[in-house]
């Protein structure tokens, strides 16, 4: 039984998991859907009720009914590296590949449909609340007046991107930033904007959940610091226990979202120590946490992928 790893060639974080799979002695096939067709080839056939499928790359051939799991890590768009890429070819290739893979009994980390839905922050807020997480008051709006009222009501509010992506080409950075209450909100009419109550925090929390195993890490924040990713404070990520009620909420969230993997961001509130839900990255990075904390994240992902279909 083979593990399929879908990611870009230069993804060295995926290498951590591939090395663990090698160590476990588990056969795997790794490729980037961007290289299909070309370096990757596929064939699926439905003949007289029999379904067969094969994938090949770099001299390896995998029969799709021998796939135990699929890890969707950082795949390029289907056919993106084709000699003559086109939207049509991308769609044809995407359907051929994912239609084939979806016809198997392989376990997914994470299934593309679940992943697409789980990326949306507005949906995340709703599911997080239902799962039992405290969620900071949040507004996504194109009404400047609503934005102004929200900022006046909560006084300390942040703005961040709705999709988590940065604008511009080449991309700019869009750190989560405090908005002064007297800001000019007219630009809200030019694009849906996400505002959220600022949580005065003593630390950022990153919780990486792999199957039934949860690893939390904590990074002390400077007084008044907003986005923990910007501005080096000299603090590093430290392992921290997962409170049982958080573990239960994580499990409810992932079950509801049909996710096998999720990287949750929380803000640990200054006064109360409460972990406020900020987001769940369905394909969140984990290499930086493993490097700082020594938590065996890559190993746990590899073991999840290596388990036989149940």
């Amino acid at each position: 039984m083979t593990v399929l790893v879908l990611t870009s060639a230069q993804d060295v974080t995926a290498d951590l998991v591939v090395a663990e799979l090698h160590e476990l002695g588990v056969p795997l096939v790794r490729f980037d859907p961007a290289d299909l067709p070309g370096e990757v080839a596929l064939s699926t056939e439905y003949v007289r009720g029999e379904f067969r499928g094969y994938l090949s790359t770099g001299g390896r051939v995998a029969s799709v009914d021998a796939l135990r799991s699929v890890w969707v890590r950082r795949p390029g768009g289907a056919a993106a590296h084709a000699e003559e890429p086109s939207a049509w070819l991308a769609e044809e290739t995407d359907h051929a590949l994912y239609g084939m893979l979806d016809s198997t009994d392989a376990r997914w980390m994470n299934h593309p449909s679940a992943a697409a839905r789980a990326r949306r922050k507005t949906w995340q807020m709703r599911v997080a609340h239902r799962s039992g997480f405290p969620v900071p008051a949040t507004l996504v709006t194109t009404y400047p007046a609503m934005a102004r009222r929200f900022a006046e009501q909560y006084r300390h509010v942040v703005v961040k991107s709705v999709s988590g992506k940065s604008p511009g080409d080449p991309p700019m950075a869009l750190p989560t930033t405090l908005v002064p209450p007297d800001a000019d909100f007219s630009g809200v009419a030019a694009g849906p904007t996400l505002f959220q109550r600022y949580i005065a925090k003593r630390a950022d929390i990153r919780l990486t959940s792999v199957g039934d195993t949860h690893f939390a890490a904590r990074k002390t924040a400077e007084a008044g610091q907003v986005d923990g990713r910007f501005g080096d404070t000299g603090h590093s990520w430290q392992p921290v226990d997962v409170p049982p009620q958080v573990a239960r909420a994580v499990e409810r969230y992932k079950r509801h979202a049909s996710l096998a993997y999720g990287a949750f961001d929380f803000a640990e509130e200054e006064q109360t120590g409460t972990w406020w839900f900020l987001e769940c990255n369905q394909g969140g990075q984990f290499g930086f946490v493993e490097l700082d904390t020594g938590q065996p994240l890559a190993r746990t992902v590899a073991e999840w992928l290596a388990a036989e279909p149940g």
Binding site: Q10, D11, T13, G59, R119, M172, A173, V179, F185, G191
Partner: protein, 72 residues
């Protein structure tokens, strides 16, 4: 050129808070080895042995043009 009296195009609010992305640090060169299905350094050792490289590639702050640094 825009005609006179045309409303000036408004920038989405969040753009006021965008700033140039920091330059990706210079990384050791590495390349994909299709036989190992892993990246290797110029001297043939696995790229994951280079902690500085791993740290830079696994960060959650997005760097311009990167296929692997984003966090979603």
């Amino acid at each position: 050129m825009r005609g006179q009296g045309r409303k000036q195009q408004m920038k989405p609010f969040a753009w006021n808070y965008a700033r140039p992305a920091e330059q990706a640090p210079a990384l050791a060169t590495y390349s994909y080895d299709a036989a190992l299905q892993l990246n290797v350094l110029a001297d043939g050792r696995p790229a994951i042995l280079d902690r500085a490289l791993l740290a830079a590639a696994g960060t959650t702050t997005s760097k311009a043009g990167s296929a692997t640094h984003f966090d979603d």
